[in-house]
């Protein structure tokens, strides 16, 4: 089958989450939000957050029209960050950046994101996977806009 060698990238869970994301909706009210923009390819998404009493993420949601990789990454991200503090999320964002660049992670908390490890074989797609995290960390920092081309 001609697409066998892309199964490492387009795992079933990626295709399933991109088609039927669980966290794609317009959260209202919300406590923080940021737009992520990849000007090179035209992808855009919005991440919104609600905090609990301890300022942990009670819920994360996103809205986007993007490729399968960015959609699945955003949806899995929203799973993983629930109940976590801003510091924990920033640590995960760094670990995720490393995962999609190298294909490996030593952080057990990253297990649900391992289906995206295959992105490391596709350098031009790394920014698709990291854009949701760029927007999320911007929202945590109180910024409303983030670009894949800025740090």
């Amino acid at each position: 089958m001609m697409f066998d060698d892309v199964r490492d990238l387009y795992q079933t869970i990626i295709l399933e989450r991109s088609r039927n994301p669980r966290h794609m909706h317009s959260m209202d009210p919300f406590d923080a939000a940021a737009d992520g923009d990849n000007p090179l390819c035209g992808d855009r998404l919005t991440v919104r957050l609600r905090y609990d009493a301890e300022h942990r993420i009670a819920e994360a949601a996103f809205e986007a029209r993007g490729c399968a990789i960015s959609m699945a990454s955003a949806d899995l991200m929203a799973d993983v960050v629930q109940g976590r503090s801003a510091d924990e999320v920033r640590r995960l964002a760094d670990a995720f950046g490393k995962l999609v660049r190298t294909g490996a992670t030593e952080d057990g908390a990253m297990d649900p994101l391992l289906p995206l490890a295959g992105v490391c074989e596709y350098p031009s797609r790394i920014k698709c996977a990291t854009l949701p995290w760029v927007a999320l960390t911007a929202a945590l920092a109180g910024r409303q806009e983030a670009s894949s081309e800025q740090r």
């Binding site: 001609m2 892309v6 295709l15 035209g42």
Partner: protein, 421 residues
Amino acid sequence: MNQILSLHAKNFDVEAIRTNFPILSQTIRGKRFVFLDSAASAQKPNAVIDAMANTMRTQYANVHRGLHWMSERTTDAYEAVRDKVASLLNAGSRDEIVFTRNATEAFNLVAHSFGRGVLKPGQAVVISQMEHHANLVPWQMLRDAHGIELRIAAITDAGELDMSALARTLEDGRVGLVSVTHMSNVLGTCNPVARVAAMAHAAGARVLFDGSQATVHRAIDVQAIDADFYVFTGHKLYGPTGIGVLYGRRELLEMMPPFMGGGDMIGTVSFERSTWAEVPHKFEAGTPAIVEAIGLGAAIDYVNAIGMDKIEAHEAALTEHALVRLSQIPALRIIGSAQDRGGVISFTLTGAHAHDVATLLDRNGIAVRAGNHCAEPLMRRLGLDSTARASFGIYTTHDEIDVLAQTLEKISGFFAKTGAA
């Protein structure tokens, strides 16, 4: 050279042409390399590669300043390319050809030297909705720095210039320049540039045409279309990167101040003041892209040896074939339906984002572009985030288009099947 001459004698032989491009014989991930991204940058024939290597091996020194044999020979070779470009565009004079780094620099040159030096605050520049960022951002910068209004002429849903919308932008007589593309890098649309020039001139405006795509696909005659400025880049015309061209009507170039200052663009220099060299050297500050210019000259010789008319016919047949084959794929939508179009086709595939389409094509050895194609406002006008784009060159075959269509059919099935939940 014999190879080129033998091509000239025969009819268009795409297999013979392909042997001139060494990169095309590679395999990518074990698959035959199908390169359908020439609109982004074209591959290079041996004639160009050899001309540049031979220059550096045997005939290289700085130009316009050496009182020695090697510099004189290199200057001759560099300046000969100006004649070749003038002939390619049918310019009235070689002095109307300015070498730049690329088309983007040529736009910036006009925006700076004509925009600030000739246009007056309160005047307007008109571009269209289908322009590349290179023909938008310099005018935004001019607007903000110099009080020039920027007007955007609409396009139709078919992806053609809306000529009545263009006429409306010209009505108040305040437009100093109309700058539109000769051929869209997204839609493939070829615009009626002679008509645009006539309308602009009747309204007292000058015209600049972006020939980055058109120069590759058809013969250009800047006098026949009555262009005031015309820009293109070498690397899309099978030449190297780092060399572009601005054609400008002599009387305009003469009234424009320099773009950048430095060596090679001056008459006399003292600590108090300097005078400028004559056109076109006034606009070529610093050591130019000597080797790249010579490479561009070789590229022009190469396409001329094949024949621009034959290239145009080959690409028209390819485009026709591709439009038929791609329109047979139910989930595929071709963006734009201009009557006059070149070998650039943008499309979307239902259920599959353009990036995913491009990645799956790439895994099968097929190179296309995906994204907004440096035309983000056009994407918004079309209601799209991104498209995939296949673009053709002299080395593209009908068989490659069939491979593209067959692979797209399978990709469409891949996402339709696995996406169902």
